[in-house]
């Protein structure tokens, strides 16, 4: 065909389409100018067009999705109403649906018609699935209904808001903590099923769901069996590669030559040989799963499924890479689960479940220990730490691992723990044996926050690309706004801006900051100011891998600075929400002012208040007072002002009534403006227990604050002090641990952890903790008196004195005073020091409450009670702890003390 002819074809084709179909023939007769070739071409094209006019009508993007869903949105199916398609595959489609009878969301699994044509089989499926569901185990998905509607068999199960482990593995590498957490939960589910005589047989990442709150759910018990039977019956072909295997097996798992189910990768050697399987096949699959979670790929791979099966039958599982930060214990567990011979494997899932659970607890201890590795340069503890390269470990010469060789203590640690010290080259943990042991003792069986799918994230202040065009207020403002936005997202735990404020140096290394903050991700944003616009580039950096996972770049017109901050934060929030598939909690408070200067003053004031010393707190009050003057409707600034006032009163030993009243007024104002302000409720809680002694009211407020902002470190910290005073020690310790998890670098949190232990009378642990806090910051003076008090209660007077001397030197107390104390100690021991301290009260600082405590310890009841009376008159905050402070024990039988306690706490 010539190009002229082709041109004609096009024209005629187009024109014919516009004709009425009856007139087409006549039209073609005329239009084709008697050229038969043209006419034939046009007719043939018209036929193709008529057959499928929508062909390629939509751009490719919309054509890639999988099979059409059986149900569409809003469609009724039995008493269910379709909401959306969750996924689909060989086991049918899974829809999110509403159970209209019970008004709850369910996952509706529609089984392919072809699989279920036999009533017996359906019943068996139902029996087995129900049996597993009936175990009512938190890690086994609950089945609500199995039935038939509109000639389709379906299964309605609990809807799990989360992703499959497969999706998770595709998107991210898992940390050791996550691997162990998920493994332990899967093992727990299998153990319960096994005890009821149910073998899963198809444990694989596709059948495991990770809920957003970290709970793991195992799906599809019994289903695989149904499919196997169906296949056995239907498929006759056998893959030649599998000719040597058991015939029933081959037909079970081979659909057509060359296509073998992905399940082969998770098959046990006995399954691969076509032998009978028992409970131990699930142990093997769990081993494969662990291996895959650690390395990102299954242990047995091959060019063809046949190769995979051969490999499973004949080869040992490959060793886990030595440099992946895998604890020795975890290697041992995986190796044992992946033992070829059933008899050498774990004999029950219960055993592996137990090992994983123990490991999980040990890792939790370690993760706490890690928090202190940054302060090792300051360590001044009873056991000196030295860094020394021990060289290669025995099990792998290539492992570049450093351990604390000279520390004899480590040698006496239990073998497993020692292995854990040998984590990996990069994550070297140096610490003293004392800390290790103490931490083991105090570690609680508590799920580590970073074990679940929630990601912790730190937002760094913005960096200018061009230092000459820098706007510092914008830098902190955008970061603060972003923290506010991200804090409302359910999938993230965001470090408070107080914690990250300090990383304002443009040369700050993002990964180093991320390690210090112990977060999974860091958002490191740079900006460039142009004329009337700003260019933003936000790098989402994975701290563990050191890789930038996402880069968001965009431009905004530079209008009002606050509008701009919101626009930028919105943009990043939206992208993160899509990327990490999470949602926002709309009730969380936002910035709440449109006044730029008020906002700047607020940021500045909060920064000062968080320094928690008297001078800065007073400046903070000034800044925040100005802020609320500029914008009287600025709720957060009012709450901040209350906080600053309280800080002044706590740190100043001044009469507190006035500041207290100011503080209350500010809180009330804040809450009037925004009832949902978490920090307002926290402040109210603290006021109620510190000043008003309204303990029931305090607890209500604290709980409300946490409910409004579950990831607020401050809310948990304030609540933990409330609990300490109430003698609810375990709860107090749990709360302060949460606060530390959320803000690991706060030394206040760390010290309050020590106090919680102190009130719980767990002195050795408290001592270790206080020493650690001093190691973090030796100028953090309040800690010394807690430490010396604890040591004295233990009868360790000389050590108490040693630390007291350190306090004197840190405080730069004059030589003469030092000598006086020295003499007092030499003549009367630690009691002499206390006496001397009481006479020099002003010089070395302290509160009347401490005065009471020391007098009580010295046996000076009357004086102690006198001091307490002063404390009461001045309403010093320490009265909250009257009930629990161990130093006051000698007074507890005294009627005057009991009367005082009644005055504070009521009958």
């Amino acid at each position: 065909m010539t190009s002229q002819q082709w041109q004609l074809v096009k024209e005629v084709f187009e024109a014919t389409l516009e004709c009425d179909s009856k007139e087409r023939t006549a039209f073609l007769d005329g239009a084709c100018c008697g050229d038969d070739e043209v006419r034939k071409e046009v007719e043939s094209l018209l036929t193709a067009h008529d057959r499928d006019g929508d062909f390629m009508n939509e751009p490719i993007g919309k054509l890639i999705p999988d099979d059409k869903p059986i149900l569409t949105a809003g469609q009724r199916f039995g008493h269910y109403e379709e909401i959306s398609l969750l996924g689909q595959g060989g086991m049918g489609q899974v829809h999110l649906a509403l159970d209209t009878r019970l008004g709850r969301k369910v996952a509706l699994k529609l089984l392919p018609i072809s699989y279920i044509h036999d009533a017996d089989r359906v019943q068996r499926l139902e029996r087995e699935a129900r049996a597993a569901s009936a175990l009512n185990h938190p890690n086994i998905v609950t089945i609500h209904e199995i039935g038939e509607a509109e000639s389709l068999h379906f299964m309605a199960t609990e809807f799990i808001d989360g992703v499959t482990l497969r999706e998770h593995l595709t998107n991210a590498r898992m940390t050791v903590g996550e691997v162990v957490e998920v493994g332990a939960q899967v093992a727990s589910a299998l153990q319960a099923a096994h005890e009821a005589g149910i073998v899963h047989r198809d444990v694989k990442p596709e059948n495991i769901m990770l809920r957003r709150d970290g709970v793991v759910k195992v799906l599809d018990f019994g289903l695989v069996k149904l499919i196997e039977e169906h296949r056995t019956e239907r498929e006759g072909e056998v893959d030649p590669m599998l000719a040597d295997s058991h015939p029933s097996f081959a037909s079970t798992f081979v659909t057509s030559p060359g296509v073998v189910l992905g399940t082969v990768a998770y098959m046990s050697p006995e399954q691969a040989r076509g032998e009978e399987v028992d409970l131990r096949t699930d142990v093997w699959s769990l081993g494969v799963l662990l291996h895959e979670m650690i390395t990102g790929h299954a242990p047995f791979v091959g060019a063809t499924p046949g190769d995979v099966l051969t490999s499973i039958r004949e080869h040992d599982a490959p060793a886990l890479p030595s440099d992946a930060g895998v604890p020795v214990e975890l290697r041992r567990i995986v190796t044992k689960a992946l033992t070829k011979e059933k008899s050498g494997r774990y004999q029950s899932v219960g055993e592996i479940a137990r090992d994983l659970k123990n490991l999980k607890e040990e890792l939790t201890v370690e993760s706490r220990l890690k928090r202190f590795r940054h302060s090792d340069s300051n360590l001044d503890l009873s056991v000196k730490v030295t860094k020394q390269n021990l060289g290669e470990t025995a099990d792998n010469a290539a492992t570049k691992t450093r351990v604390n060789n000279s520390n004899a203590f480590v040698k006496h640690l239990p073998e497993q723990i020692k292995h854990h010290l040998v984590l990996t080259g990069a994550a070297v943990i140096l610490f003293t044996g004392v800390i290790a042991l103490t931490y083991l003792a105090i570690s609680r069986n508590k799920t580590d926050l970073d074990a679940g799918p929630k990601r912790s994230i730190a937002v760094l202040p913005l960096k200018p690309i061009d230092e000459a065009r820098r706007d510092k207020i914008l830098e902190t403002g955008i970061a603060d706004t972003l923290v506010q936005h991200l804090s409302s997202m359910r999938g993230f735990i965001v470090r408070s801006f107080n914690a990250t404020h300090g990383y304002e140096n443009p040369a700050q290394d993002a990964i180093a900051a991320g390690r210090e903050q112990q977060v999974d991700y860091v958002i490191s944003t740079s900006y460039e100011l142009g004329d009337g616009h700003i260019h933003i580039r936000a790098d989402i950096v994975n701290v563990a891998s050191g890789q930038t996972e996402y880069i968001y770049q965009f431009e905004k017109t530079f209008s009002d600075v606050l509008v701009l901050q919101d626009a930028i934060a919105d943009e990043i929030e939206n992208r993160l929400r899509t990327q990490f598939a999470t949602t926002s909690n709309p009730t969380t408070a936002r910035r709440g002012t449109t006044n730029k200067e008020a906002y700047r003053l607020y940021l500045h004031g909060m920064y000062l208040a968080n320094n928690r010393n008297i001078q800065d707190a007073q400046l903070a009050v000034q800044a925040l007072e100005q802020a609320v003057e500029l914008d009287p409707n600025y709720a957060r600034a009012w709450a901040g002002l209350a906080y600053a006032h309280r800080t002044v009163s706590i740190w100043s030993d001044l009469t507190t009534r006035e500041t207290h009243e100011k503080s209350i007024a500010a809180i009330n104002r804040a809450l009037q403006l925004d009832e949902n302000l978490s920090e307002g409720h926290s402040a109210l809680c603290e006021n109620k227990y510190l000043y008003e002694w309204d303990f029931a009211g305090a607890e209500r407020e604290c709980k409300r604050a946490i409910e409004l902002e579950p990831n607020s470190s401050q809310a948990h910290e304030i609540y933990s002090r409330y609990l300490m005073g109430r003698g609810r020690h375990d709860e107090a310790i749990a709360e302060i641990e949460t606060a530390i998890d959320l803000e690991p670098t706060s030394k206040f949190n760390q010290r309050n952890y020590g106090r919680a232990l102190f009130y719980a009378r767990r002195y050795p642990e408290a001592v270790t903790q206080f020493k650690r806090v001093i190691a973090m910051d030796q100028n953090f003076v309040g800690t010394y008196s807690w430490l010396t008090s604890t040591l004295a209660l233990q009868g360790k007077e000389s050590e108490a004195y040693e630390w007291f001397r350190k306090l004197l030197s840190v405080r730069k107390v004059d030589d003469e005073t030092v000598k006086t104390f020295e003499r007092a100690y030499q003549t009367s021991g630690w009691r002499g020091v206390w006496r001397e301290w009481l006479t020099k009260f002003d010089k070395v600082g302290g509160t009347n409450f401490d005065g009471a405590a020391y007098n009580a310890q010295l046996g000076e009841r009357d004086k102690a009670l006198e001091y307490l009376e002063t404390v009461f008159q001045r309403r010093e905050i320490w009265l909250t702890y009257l009930r629990v402070d161990p130093r006051l024990d000698p007074l507890r039988n005294d009627p005057r003390f009991i009367e005082l306690l009644t005055r504070v706490e009521g009958e």
Partner: protein
């Protein structure tokens, strides 16, 4: 990078074909990287939005403020061809995997999945399109822009510097031609 690309795009829009040679690898790298990222996340019920992807590449690579709106169409014109290559490569790989040629990536679910209906066979389209280009290269370009890049008729017309009417005609004929070529 952004300035460089913007500059090249302007040059090319002004008729400098050499600029295109420099531009192509830059755009290709970006698109491929992004497509890979999207495809990793691909899952049932979710589709790869090629248009969104190209748009994102455009925003990332080009200093949007400093270019005329026509440059966007020109950028999409380059991207369309590259997107076609990326998608076809992807489909080819996926096909190979399904035939068991590479690692066992199939899941139980995949293996049981029913044959697809109403789905396009990307590899067949690609082959047919290559053949169409030998008959009418302009039509093949139109298909790339409309189908692989998701441009509207007007945008396609701008990118190819022809009238919307001619784009409409080419689009209509090309689809019928391809439909016939691919057959059943």
């Amino acid at each position: 990078m952004s300035q460089n690309i913007t500059h090249l795009l302007k040059e090319w829009s002004n008729g400098d074909e050499r600029a295109l040679n420099e531009l192509t690898p830059l755009v290709y790298g970006e698109l491929r990287q992004q497509a890979a990222r999207y495809m990793r996340k691909e899952r049932p019920g979710h589709s790869l939005q090629a248009t969104a992807l190209i748009n994102e590449a455009y925003l990332r690579l080009v200093d949007v403020k400093n270019v005329q709106w026509q440059n966007r169409a020109h950028f999409f014109a380059i991207a369309a061809n590259l997107m076609r290559r990326i998608l076809v490569d992807h489909a080819r790989r996926r096909d190979a995997e399904k035939r068991g040629g590479s690692q066992v990536l199939l899941t139980l679910d995949d293996a049981f999945a029913a044959p697809k209906h109403g789905d396009v066979d990307l590899l067949a389209i690609d082959q047919a399109l290559t053949k169409l280009a030998t008959i009418d290269s302009q039509q093949a370009r139109v298909v790339e822009l409309r189908f692989f890049s998701g441009l509207t008729v007007e945008e396609t017309a701008t990118a190819l510097n022809v009238s919307p009417k001619s784009v409409k005609r080419d689009w209509s004929v090309a689809r019928a031609w391809l439909r016939r070529e691919i057959g059943d």
